[in-house]
């Protein structure tokens, strides 16, 4: 078995990152100019990394699938970004943010990585403010904070309900500055088809221009993968339509191990599904749980009447409501972590207490908060979210409670990386949601923005130098090398194969079928039998896809159907790996809930003796089973406990 080396620096937890930086290798300014770095994806992690590399003097080539880096899906994050500033004087510290994140992740992440994340969190806020990000402020002119799930302090910085937008626009402005300077060359509407390895190192990519269809070769001394998560494998998710896992999947097939692929975050507060034609789900920010109270009817007959439209929620008195999160988790109440809140909602709905016409929804009620604070305060805090809800559902949430239900939101799993964020392919790094690193089995709210920017602004600019320091003698890589020719040929042949099937069913119809399999068997609750069935069903669906899919048009044109087909072909393989990973992990932890492993109260039951490891999967070929390698998780500094939010 391959020995996975996480390369965790020596020393006490609080000194590891400082020690690393003190002893790492650096590249001098003259040499930086001669070194090329490719950055794939220009969301928070990619844009911040590309801009920072450019500032340092490296020659950067950045790639994004959108018409502009400003459209990456980081833009849609609503609620906020965590940092251990302790501005509210409520007892926060770097250690507490670290501890909450490890605990929130149900003890399935690396201590050293998470500590570093908490440590640089404060630098991120400073950086963003310096860029002109208009965070919310108090009347005294200083920054305001609010609370998110899994924390008892207020450490979340925010910009109305558009924090992701403002942070991405900050990173985009830094990137634009470097593009103008000429240190970054930006390739928009450009999709990665494959990676090119030369002598075992990542040395380039093959891309497709999404307008002309032209296949291009690009080379570099190092490559950074920052393409986000793969939640769209479920078809319906809060991800944007073009968000995809293909670059990560191609990296996996070229030798990068895939870490904990089954760890998926199902977000508790999304607008419920309404019809078969639905293309995506909309998130309602977790920040709403600061003031909204979650409930379902206490009695089944009331739930049934509500489902049939015979009773309105506002007609139900307090004695006929069940505020189930406050009842089950008095200490954290409505602010329990996402996995706990989602499962509790599913439990109530499965038991027949759900609301809405489908019975698959719970209420998020602001009546108390409006009474306590006044409508204007709620409007100031969440106005844009309330408006968004009203446009979609056609109901006024100031007057009647919102209906919400869990939906796929984020993937904690991703490409395995060591402490330096380097994958098992030398020279290939992974950042942001695309890597598996910091959130364990469950990510806390407002931590994705933190991790993306931490990786891009404050980690990679250091660690990539440690790699590049011994590459200074390597001349610019030629794209005429046979490895590039071979990769281009393979990428083109995959496209030709898809176009040649010429079956009868659309790409979306296969994607929808895959999504149903994933949601039913690899979703919020999993069991052995279901996962085995999912593997079989996905294999059959994949075979059917390659016989019956219809991809119109040609490669040499704007062809969104072809783009989708390439992604869905990858999802049909990735979905199977997710099911395999979930099947292997005979325990429940965080968002991974195996029905066979639960406490008498229905909480996730970990098995630390056996499963205290990261599962890193290695690709073994098209028809071969993947191999699983273990990176043991060693907890030196904290005590591993059963999570308790009561």
């Amino acid at each position: 078995m391959v020995k996975l080396d996480a390369k965790i620096p020596q020393g006490p937890l609080a000194e590891k990152w400082t020690n690393y930086k003190a002893h790492q290798n650096l590249v001098n300014p003259a040499n930086k100019r001669r070194l090329d770095i490719i950055v794939i994806g220009t969301g928070l992690a990619g844009a911040s990394a590309a801009a920072s590399f450019g500032e340092l003097g490296f020659n950067v080539k950045a790639f994004g699938i959108h018409d502009s880096p400003r459209r990456a899906h980081s833009i849609a994050a609503q609620g906020g970004i965590n940092a251990a500033k302790n501005y509210p004087n409520d007892g926060d510290s770097i250690y507490r943010l670290f501890y909450d994140t490890i605990k929130g992740g149900d003890y399935r992440s690396r201590e050293a990585n998470v500590y570093r994340l908490a440590e640089v969190s404060n630098n991120i806020i400073d950086q963003c403010v310096a860029q002109g990000v208009p965070f919310a402020r108090e009347y005294g002119g200083l920054l305001d904070n609010r609370s998110f799930g899994g924390a008892q302090v207020s450490r979340t910085f925010y910009a109305r309900g558009q924090t992701g937008q403002q942070l991405l626009l900050g990173a985009y402005s830094a990137l634009s500055k470097e593009i103008a300077k000429g240190s970054v060359k930006m390739h928009t509407r450009s999709e990665i088809l494959d990676f090119v390895l030369v002598d075992g190192r990542a040395r380039g990519v093959i891309t497709r221009d999404l307008i002309s269809g032209k296949i291009e070769r690009h080379s570099a001394h190092a490559v950074v993968l920052a393409t986000g998560g793969y939640g769209n494998v479920f078809f319906l998710s809060t991800n944007a339509m073009a968000s995809n896992g293909s670059a990560a999947w191609k990296a996996y097939k070229k030798g990068a191990f895939f870490g904990n692929p089954s760890f998926t975050q199902i977000h508790p507060t999304c607008i419920p599904v309404h019809g078969a034609y639905q293309s995506k789900l909309t998130l309602m920010s977790e920040s709403l749980r600061n003031d909204g109270r979650i409930w379902v009817p206490k009695f089944k007959e009331d739930a049934e009447k509500i489902q049939k439209g015979q009773l309105k929620p506002t007609e139900l008195g307090e004695d006929r409501r069940d505020y189930y999160l406050e009842r089950r988790y008095p200490a954290f109440g409505n602010l329990v972590p996402r996995d706990v809140a989602s499962r509790a909602a599913k439990e109530r709905c499965d038991a027949g207490f759900g609301v809405g016409s489908t019975g698959l929804a719970v209420y998020l009620d602001f009546a108390d908060a409006i009474k306590r604070l006044g409508k204007h305060v709620i409007e100031a805090r969440y106005g844009n979210l309330f408006q968004m809800y009203e446009k979609i559902v056609d109901e006024n949430p100031y007057e009647t409670p919102m209906m919400i239900y869990p939906a796929v939101h984020y993937t904690m799993g991703g490409i395995w990386v060591d402490y330096e964020l380097q994958t098992t392919i030398p020279g290939l790094f992974a950042a942001g949601e695309a890597n598996f690193s910091d959130h364990g089995a469950n990510r806390l709210g407002a931590s994705a923005l933190m991790q993306g920017l931490s990786d891009g602004y404050f980690v990679l600019p250091y660690t990539i130098q440690n790699y590049l320091a011994d590459q200074i003698q390597v001349p610019r890589i030629s794209t005429e090398l046979p490895e590039f020719e071979q990769a281009e040929k393979e990428a083109l042949s995959q496209i030709e194969k898809l176009l040649a099937v010429n079956g009868k069913e659309t790409v979306d119809s296969f994607h929808r079928k895959l999504g149903l399999i994933m949601w039913d068997f690899v979703g919020m609750a999993r069991n052995k039998e279901g996962l085995e069935k999912a593997i079989k069903d996905i294999q059959e669906l994949r075979a059917d896809f390659w016989k019956n899919v219809k991809v119109p048009g040609t490669n040499q044109m704007v062809n969104p159907e072809l783009e989708k087909a390439i992604r869905v072909a990858d999802y049909l393989e990735l979905g199977e790996l997710m099911a395999r990973d979930a099947l292997m992990r005979n325990e429940s932890c965080g968002g991974h809930f195996r029905e066979e492993y639960q406490t008498p109260e229905g909480e996730a039951l970990r098995s630390d003796d056996v499963f205290n490891f990261v599962a890193a999967w290695e690709y073994k070929g098209e028809n071969a089973e993947p191999a699983m390698h273990k990176e043991p998780l060693v907890f030196e500094f904290i005590e591993v406990k059963q999570r308790n939010y009561k």
């Binding site: 959108h66 459209r71 899906h73 403010v129 310096a130 919310a136 339509m241 034609y277 119109p552 048009g553």
Partner: protein, 249 residues
């Protein structure tokens, strides 16, 4: 509901476009406008026809990708939302809906309803940033900013760069887009240091790229999905004038 769609089809940037009529049946009033187009496209694929190309991504009104002219208005009949947030309940059964791409010279059509908005990126690259590098910045609370100013900067920063303002303007002026960025930074102490150079460079780039002048019709504000106020244009004009008057060169 059953609808007639009159859609602008154009094979490529060079191609000559034309309107083509399509019928769609049994569309739910709860479907979004883009889901209605998905339904049409799925049918076109099965029938072996070229589906209608349009830009879209987040489908929750924040990425700014969607850019469709509906019945003569950018982002359609409802106010304060993007195309992707528009639901079919805004239309009547049996209605004919006219669907076009943004119409503005600086935004050339790529295909069907897709346009090239890279001119906006070029304007930001001309100066839409604060020139700080990563690291070495002061503590976030070392720069107190009056809440009123921070809130106003946020109002401006809410721009999603969709280009509806340009599409709505008879002059294809980008003043609302440019002023939103200029105004955001002009209001904040972090942005003040470079304010004079910024406004001149961004305005020069905007002119160079062929955007028209502002003649105060306020169509941009009326059609902006984020309801960004024309008061930012007024601030930009003051900034621009001030910069010209005080120019050291």
């Amino acid at each position: 509901m059953d609808l007639t769609l009159k859609i602008w089809r154009q094979a490529s940037a060079e191609g000559k476009g034309k309107f083509v009529n399509y019928q769609v049946q049994n569309i739910s009033a709860d479907a979004s406008f883009l889901e209605m187009l998905d339904i049409l496209n799925e049918r076109l694929v099965v029938e072996g026809e070229d589906p209608v190309a349009f830009d879209h991504d987040c489908r929750e009104g924040i990425c700014g990708a969607c850019s469709i002219y509906i019945n003569g208005r950018p982002h359609g009949p409802d106010r304060g939302i993007t195309t992707c947030q528009m639901h079919m309940r805004n239309f009547k059964d049996g209605e004919t809906i006219v669907i076009e791409p943004w119409r503005a010279k600086p935004f050339p059509v790529i295909k069907d309803l897709m346009v090239d908005r890279s001119a906006f990126d070029a304007i930001i690259q001309a100066g839409g940033y604060v020139s700080v590098s990563t690291g070495g910045v002061p503590d976030a609370n070392a720069i107190p900013i009056p809440k009123r100013k921070a809130d106003e900067a946020m109002d401006a920063a809410a721009c999603i760069g969709c280009g509806a303002c340009v599409a709505a303007c008879k002059n294809a002026s980008a003043m609302l887009f440019v002023s939103a960025k200029v105004s955001q930074f002009a209001l904040l102490p972090q942005g003040r240091l470079e304010a004079r150079e910024r406004v001149q460079k961004m305005v020069a780039k905007m002119d160079e790229l062929g955007f028209g002048n502002c003649t105060n019709t306020y169509a941009c504000e009326a059609e902006c999905p984020k309801e960004i106020s024309v008061s930012h244009i007024a601030r930009m004009n003051r900034e621009f004038l001030g910069a010209k008057l005080l120019s050291e060169k």
